[in-house]
Subunit: 235 residues, 2 copies
């Protein structure tokens, strides 16, 4: 007898659904609130498993996860950040540059764990189901793994910060990653003293939250016909 | 008196955490199980709100969401898929090509709703916090919105399928999207008759699930030292 190919316990209750929304809305990009407390292997294992169950184009699973705990390696990544961030600050003008310099943008050394997510674009050969006409789909799969990891961490009361002010070549150098492998994300991971209510750039007045109804359209780009009842749901 | 900048109700209980994991593990890429039942605006509104609360580089929120219900527009997208898919099949060899042709890879016309997620790379000006050294970060933000949408839909018992066998130019044409806007994903969205236990490409024997311990490393690429306790957690 074959096993049932359909999911058992497939239905979500309202309480289960609301837990998922709590996670989505309370996830934050953490930069400065990391505690030194170690993350138990059991917790870290669950978070990595969640990342590994992201969708992937052609079931390619193109990712690797490098778990960084060595302080020397973290310092190399932090140095690469500092080089890039000094350059970055010069790209902003006037008051904006002053504000930029005051922003806390990473917790690389303070976070007990770093996780680098990569993409091996050749993992399953040159032709991949679903990548034939959108060559970037494997990179996007690895990004879905990052978002799964981030949400799983939040549900474990663990903070995550994505540090993107880094040259890919410097990150590869710090972690010994070959040039054939694409780096996707360097994540700072750890327990935190608190989670902020609002995104830090929003709270700092850098940019406001866009009203959702300004980015939802119907049937075509900037289409806005006959969908008043949905627009009312968007606030 | 200032409002508390920290999150209230920040802690996740074990039950809340397990609901998030249920969602992550039971999410599927749905191609052939869509029901015609309409999605209530209230549900669709919550799903879009979840997408809008994805992380975004520099709080740029570069996404737009085009909700497609017009059957004529869906047919245009389905035609673009068929053109690309015929080309795609020819790229596989021998038995692989036969198997490919039997795969059900989209539910564009059957799904009651399509959602196209896009990225406006100029939305907040040329210089973006966190995008200075990794120019692709805004595209990745839009991908995080896709993954949030997918998980929120699953928690609403709604299926989602990402159709990537499409030329970007054809998709822009079908939806009237200007060339300055990058298309990220075309998603088929709807209630389903069932969710499969395993990913369809895994069940079809196309590729196996990679053991997690084969893609987790320590401190450097392919580093494997002194982390036996974590490896044991990975199965």
């Amino acid at each position: 007898m074959e096993a049932n190919p359909y999911q058992a316990d497939a239905e979500f209750t309202a309480a289960e659904r609301d837990s998922v929304y709590k996670c989505i809305f309370k996830r934050r990009d953490v930069r400065g609130q990391f505690l030194p407390d170690p993350i138990p292997d059991e917790v870290l294992g669950r978070i990595l498993k969640a990342a590994h169950h992201a969708p992937s184009v052609g079931f390619m699973q193109p990712w690797d996860f490098i778990v960084v705990r060595d302080p020397m390696v973290k310092r190399k990544v932090r140095d690469a950040f500092q080089t890039a961030n000094t350059e970055a600050a010069d790209m902003f003008e006037g008051d904006r540059q002053e504000t930029y310099r005051r922003l806390k943008l990473e917790g690389i050394v303070e976070a007990p764990v770093g996780i680098c997510v990569t993409c091996d674009r050749e993992r399953t050969g040159p032709v991949v189901v679903g990548r034939t006409h959108q060559r970037e789909m494997d990179l996007y799969s690895a990004v879905c793994a990052v978002q799964n990891l981030w949400l799983a961490a939040r549900a474990e009361n663990v903070g995550v910060g994505w540090v993107s002010i880094l040259r890919h070549a410097d990150l590869r150098e710090a972690l010994g990653i070959p040039a054939s492998i694409q780096t996707i994300a360097y994540l700072c991971v750890g327990y935190v003293s608190h989670f902020f209510q609002n995104p830090e750039l929003e709270a700092a007045g850098w940019l406001p939250r866009t009203p959702l109804r300004d980015v939802v359209w119907f049937d075509r780009w900037h289409g806005r016909t006959g969908e008043e009842t949905l627009l009312q749901q968007l606030g």
